[in-house]
Symmetry: C2
Subunit: 133 residues, 2 copies
Amino acid sequence: MDSTQERPSAPELPFNVFAKACPSRGTLEHVTGRWGSLTLGALYEGSLRFNELRRRVDGVSEKMLSQTLHALERDGLVHREAQPTNPPRVDYELTPLGRQVAERLLDLIRLVEGRMDDVLTARERYDATRGAL
Amino acid sequence: MDSTQERPSAPELPFNVFAKACPSRGTLEHVTGRWGSLTLGALYEGSLRFNELRRRVDGVSEKMLSQTLHALERDGLVHREAQPTNPPRVDYELTPLGRQVAERLLDLIRLVEGRMDDVLTARERYDATRGAL
DNA sequence: CAGCATCCAGCTTGATACTG
DNA sequence: CAGTATCAAGCTGGATGCTG
């Protein structure tokens, strides 16, 4: 091959997050963003209503959840099902693609959660040596 | 068990990203943050020097890269190897844990990159229906 | 219940300049 | 090369109040 190996994996893909202008970078940010990842993670269990979701994702504000949900819906990762009842009832659930994304995300989340003691230990060492210098 | 099932998976883990106060949430953010994910992804190929990394991660500023690397080093995901030569040479590489994290991240990145046309299509539909309303 | 509009504090980010 | 320091600006995100 002649290409100067700019990426290790999947060099033939048209989309490349490492490039500034690539739209995939935006989607990756929606997905991995503070509330995006938690929202997708929460919805992995099954569909949830707006306020249920809000309670699951501890600390999210109404505004941020709404905004996050819109971005995810626009990217085709979440499906919004509104019932014109009174009081209104709206359910959110993952699309098949959203489900795949959430799986990867949960893999990552589980790994991080499972290794937090290592992380915490590393932090202590880092802070100790830095503070001593 | 008496706990009212707050998480679907791994209910016995001491760390839970869904909880506001959990330190794992911070680490997850370092890892999934805009520059964190790209930095880990870039380092997955092998160790890189500061400016090499800067060129790989298109669009990152010196300051943000520096800051990102510090956070990842502190969390024990990246190892910094400085040689006291002149001019200075500093290599960054993933730790074993960093490597595991990067693997999950790359799975996610590849999925997103590979499905961007679906995402783009979904966006068009979303924008079209929203604009029409 | 489900959400949008607005206001505003403050954290994040990017330039720029400087150091070892 | 490999960063740190500083400053201005802009985006993020929370609180509040209102609608259907």
